[in-house]
């Protein structure tokens, strides 16, 4: 079974393409919800779709018991009906000053309870149909066929098309709602349209991910995409990409897991929903950790690099003031652990700023002098231009000396008229060019 088989094999291609389309749609809608900080709405609505699904299928089973292959139409209709009802219920509760989270929870639980009652009645009246609706809780992509794929693909395509055509208005509504209504955009209608698309993507997802985990598929690709970019169009693109990837891998995991679990006598299935959501969450957690700009690792690295530079510059400055120093004295005055000092001093030596048992090289002298120059310039700026008292300026200068850029230094020199003395009557070192 090669990778291409998943796309063209008549049995395997249905689930593959179906989950692919569905995950692209949920990734797109998820980015909108994430930026509006309303991702938990998806959680509530997807649970609330359950009673509609059950009622829809029951009615269908009573009306057309022979046309089972068309039952998914009733799933779609029922799910959208009850999710819409839930949305109205949440809005109604929130208008009555129920806090949003309580309203979401209450509607979620009551609708799900109604769904369970409906399901239990179905279990006794239409047992064979009940079996099939049970899989909609956790999703079962394996039995998807061409009709499903066409329908779900069509829905996903229309969502993508909407995003493409309405990109500008969508962007302005997402980032500044009041401003866009001032521009004359019909914000209300656009938001209604977004909710319709949310409903569409939720009910498309019910088949392959299931009502309980659908919100995971809305959130995870969007979170992963948000880590990599600040641009809306790239976020949409990345979210659908992550969604598609987790759909494919999750589907594969589910098929593989089912084969692994099944014995010759007993057929077991690993439901599709949990596997897709697991893969999607893995992507989200990995991007939270390792994304280049916003990831935790790179952020910690940036913080660490800055602290290291500050320590190095403080040590150089100290040498400049005191001449030759041993490691022990540095340890006692700067309160830095011995091992850290050892590493930093070795690094400084390698870069050629210090030599011997610790005194500055000529290059190191220049570097240290430039740091002291920044410190004293800033002190002078604070006392002369901002009229701060002389006793208060040292502390901020201690911070600023590590942050000031050469450009700022030039401006300060110009502003203060190339000064030679700082407010404490200490000389300000000459500006020196060091390599």
């Amino acid at each position: 079974m090669s990778l291409i088989d998943f796309f063209i094999d008549p049995v395997l291609r249905g689930p593959t393409w179906g989950t692919l389309f569905m995950c692209i749609a949920s990734g797109l809608i998820g980015s909108v919800l994430l930026l509006r900080k309303k991702t938990l709405l998806a959680e509530s609505l997807s649970h609330a779709a359950y009673p509609g699904v059950i009622l829809g299928v029951s009615l269908f089973a009573l009306a057309f018991p022979a046309h089972e292959e068309w039952a998914f139409v009733s799933v779609l209709a029922g799910a959208s009906f009850s999710a819409f009802l839930a949305l109205k219920g949440i809005e109604w509760l929130m208008r009555r000053k129920v806090s949003p989270d309580a309203a979401l929870c209450f509607i979620l639980a009551v609708f799900f309870g109604a769904g369970i009652v409906a399901a239990s009645s179905m279990q006794s009246q239409l047992p064979s149909w009940h079996q099939k609706t049970q899989m909609l809780l956790f999703g079962q992509a394996a039995t998807m066929t061409g009709i499903h794929v066409a329908l779900y693909g069509g829905l996903a395509l229309s969502i993508a098309l909407f995003f493409l055509l309405m990109y500008r208005p969508l962007q302005s509504v997402l980032f500044d709602r009041d401003f866009s209504s001032l521009l004359g955009l019909n914000v209300k209608w656009l938001e209604r349209l977004i909710f319709c698309l949310l409903l569409a993507s939720l009910i498309v997802g019910i088949r392959s991910v299931g009502v309980i985990l659908m919100s995971g598929m809305i959130i995870a690709p969007a979170v992963a995409a948000r880590q990599f970019t600040h641009h809306l169009h790239r976020m949409f693109f990345l979210a659908s990409f992550f969604g598609a990837l987790s759909g494919l891998l999750g589907n594969f995991l589910s098929i593989w897991g089912s084969m692994y679990l099944s014995t010759e006598t007993e057929r077991m299935t690993l439901p599709t929903g949990p596997s897709i959501v697991l893969v999607g969450s893995c992507f989200a957690f990995l991007s939270l950790l390792f994304a280049p700009q916003r990831g935790l690792v790179s952020r910690l690295f940036r913080i660490g690099a800055f602290r290291l530079r500050r320590l190095e510059e403080n040590i150089l400055k100290y040498f400049w003031k005191k001449g030759t120093l041993s490691r022990k004295i540095l340890h006692e005055t700067l309160h830095v652990p011995m091992w850290a000092l050892f590493l930093v001093l070795r690094r400084l030596k390698k870069q050629g700023w210090i030599e011997g048992a610790y005194s500055l090289t000529p290059d190191g002298m220049k570097r240290a002098a430039s740091i002291v120059r920044l410190h004293r310039l800033w002190e002078l700026y604070l006392t002369e231009q901002l009229k701060l008292e002389t006793g208060k300026v040292h502390k901020t200068a201690e911070e600023m000396e590590h942050i000031l850029t050469p450009d700022l230094e030039e401006r300060l020199t110009h502003l203060l008229g190339a000064p030679t003395q700082d407010p404490h009557q200490q000389p300000i070192p000459e500006k020196s060019r060091f390599p």
């Binding site: 959680e43 309580a102 309870g113 995870a220 959501v277």
Partner: protein, 312 residues
């Protein structure tokens, strides 16, 4: 043979109250055990729910109610799948789930600077998915996963009643013992912080109690429906009361009322229509119905008051 066999809605109550003074305690019928477990769950939830809603933590409770499945998977992993869900195992599972959920969610918010709603959603969906996969792998049976979501009131035994009573007593004693701390923490977190150094301890205690309650209720009503017990009675009580103590009492009573009505109605449907419906689901429907009814009653009451005032 259940003594309630063939009883309709009103006969059920008549029988229940007559039996309450005779044989309930010596030979409880299934329906009575159901009522007992559901009422104990209602007490636990009614005591915790108001604090959760006031602290705007219900979505976190939703998260916990999903992740206890991972705790259940953990207990199956450690103690084997044949162990009945007795109290110690439940506590271990609840502790595991609450700890993991709280740690991950707060880690995402503070360490990764992810927005709150997305952190909650990401953590519980992934942990729930993991729980489902583990339960399926350990037990080679998808049924347990399904049952933990929807609950199964009909399988309750006397031991479940004992466990849920103990849980209710635990909740009751801790809430009464630390009532003041919980109250202050719910209304003014800043004040609670200035008054005592361990205000966040009570935050985590509340999380733990929620987790224990969710996991304790999962046999009866399933992990998701517990949410209705946590939020619904409080919202209903809130329509009429504005002080915390009456709110707590009313939430507990409303939860118990919904449980009674649900079990009775389920029996009624079975008797008159031969329809075996999920009792847990019916109870939750009654919680929803009670809210709507209370809302209407309040509206009528208010408009009546306005009319009489206009006459004066």
């Amino acid at each position: 043979m259940s003594p309630y066999w063939g009883a309709n809605f009103f006969e059920f109550f008549f029988l229940f109250f007559t039996r309450l003074f005779h044989s309930v305690w010596s030979q409880p019928a299934t329906d009575e055990i159901q009522i007992g477990v559901l009422c104990m769950t209602a007490i636990s939830c009614g005591l915790i729910g108001p604090f959760l809603v006031l602290r705007k933590m219900t979505m976190f409770a939703n998260s916990l109610s999903h992740t206890v499945l991972l705790g259940i998977a953990g207990t199956i992993f450690f103690f084997g799948k044949e162990t009945p869900f007795d109290l110690t195992h439940l506590l271990v599972g609840a502790l595991l789930a609450a700890f993991l959920t709280a740690l991950l969610t707060e880690g995402l918010i503070k360490g990764f600077r992810l927005q709150e709603d997305a952190s909650i959603g990401l953590v519980f969906t992934s942990l729930f998915a993991l729980g489902i996969v583990f339960v399926t792998l350990f037990t080679k049976d998808l049924h347990l996963g399904l049952e933990s979501v929807v609950g199964n009131v009909d399988a309750l035994k006397l031991s479940d009643f004992r466990a849920s009573t103990l849980l209710a007593l635990l909740n009751l004693s801790l809430i009464t013992l630390f009532y003041r701390q919980f109250q202050i923490g719910s209304f003014d977190r800043g004040l609670a912080k200035t008054l005592s150094s361990c205000s966040s301890l009570f935050h985590y205690l509340l999380l733990f109690l929620t987790s224990v309650t969710c996991i304790g209720a999962f046999r009866a009503i399933g992990v998701i429906l517990v949410l209705a017990f946590l939020v619904g009675p409080y919202l209903t009580a809130r329509l009429f009361f504005h002080r915390l103590k009456p709110l707590l009492v009313a939430s507990v009573l409303l939860g118990c009322l919904a449980s009674l009505l649900g079990v009775a109605f389920s029996r009624h449907l079975l008797t008159t229509f031969g329809l075996p419906l999920s009792t847990g689901g019916l109870v939750v429907c009654f919680i929803g119905l009670l809210y709507v009814l209370s809302y209407i009653v309040k509206k009528i009451y208010r408009s009546g008051m306005l009319l009489t005032k206009a006459h004066d």
